[in-house]
Subunit: 242 residues, 2 copies
């Protein structure tokens, strides 16, 4: 028998991700009322899907650990990765419109999510303006993020895309307490290429070139940024593009 009852472990107010996740920005009293929202967690094994295109939409999911990719199939069997999602980020909002998920969410490593039944989310949003506001913010932020990806796909060359991608990952990892200059990619070159609108060969070549230029150290999936000057230059580029 554990010291805390199982339900306590699901409380948002006690979660170390609370400032990055659903309850971010909520007053203490509102946050307490969120604690009833999450009634279950779900573990997802590497390469398994949290949901697939066509699955009925019933809940939003908050990533608790692990990384996911969202991807759509296109006609030729080619897959488009529309995003990568790490701890504290919310998945599943594309499903609200049609009550069906329109893409797959696949774990890139063993992962766990908090299940937020959407009916309960809506109920809370009606009762607690702070929750309503936060839900709107999360959806709006997803729209803004997508616009950033469009900017990347429409206007940047391969090298800029890869650099922006790496800096974006580093920034998000740093917000989660990891290094801001070093990371282990959890996704394949294929996945990166699909997300960036490039072939896997171009991604590989671009990483090699950045390494040859002395800006990165690349060892398989372990990346380290070496030149902080270049980093700042890229960062400006990324900021301007967002």
């Amino acid at each position: 028998m554990s010291a805390t009852p199982p339900r306590m472990q699901l409380a948002c107010s006690a979660c170390n991700l609370r400032d990055l996740c659903m309850p971010s920005g909520l007053a203490a009293a509102d946050m307490a009322r969120l604690d009833g929202l999450i009634t279950s967690r779900r573990t997802v094994k590497r390469r398994a899907a949290l949901y697939r295109r066509g699955d009925p939409f019933t809940a939003l999911y908050a990533v608790r650990s692990g990384i996911f990719k969202s991807c759509q199939q296109s006609e030729g069997g080619a897959e488009l990765v529309t995003g990568f999602h790490m701890a504290g980020e919310i998945l599943g909002m594309e499903g609200i419109d049609q009550d069906l998920h329109t893409c797959d969410a696949v774990a890139l490593e063993d992962a766990e999510v908090c299940v937020m039944p959407f009916d309960a989310v809506c109920q809370l949003a009606r009762e607690i303006p702070g929750v309503q506001r936060q839900l709107h913010r999360i959806m709006s932020r997803e729209i803004v993020r997508d616009h950033g990806v469009m900017q990347l796909l429409a206007n940047m060359r391969a090298e800029e895309r890869v650099a922006s991608f790496l800096l974006n990952l580093l920034q998000r990892l740093q917000a989660r307490g990891f290094s801001g200059s070093e990371l282990v990619l959890r996704m394949s070159r294929q996945d990166i290429g699909s997300f960036l609108g490039l072939t896997l060969e171009t991604v590989s070549r671009t990483l090699s070139k950045l390494a040859a230029d002395g800006l990165l150290e690349v060892q398989h999936r372990h990346i380290r940024i070496l030149d902080s000057e270049a980093r700042r230059r890229w960062q400006r580029q990324l900021d301007a593009a967002t």
Copy 2:
């Protein structure tokens, strides 16, 4: 003195766009309660902005007439068009997250919008589940639309992009009672190119090629689809991509 008081003219329940716009899917009683939401309309002259990046976010806007583009500036002064918006579509959702608009909304022809003060929208959403649901749907649909654009930018070649773009416009025009095979482009080649991640020259060349292949008739900004077989083929492509 007009037969109907001015306020009546702003009623969603009496609007011919109601099935495409905010009230779509609402029960009659709920729709009646929406009628108090819109307290003003705003006209926007061609080339003028409904809002600009950095403007405080206060309202969502429903396009009543005319066409808008949304666009972001990037570092080099280059502009990225993130979407085109026609009657019944909702603008401004990117502003919710930060309480600031993150892009410009510019009228491509003289236009009019219904102003939906966001506080009032939120209030209604708390009181009327149908309105809440519709608001969520509209935001979700924007996310799904953005994923479709990412698909286009990441995986399609110039000819496919242009064809998808034209078919998408035709589909939306048809839903509004216009021809499904003929249209007048309200945006420049530059705007189309920016949206599709192509140069204006490539857009122009691609239209010329499609015309030379006998699939389109292109006269300046007037386009007509000739080959319905090709149309169906493209349509499948577009559907698969979305």
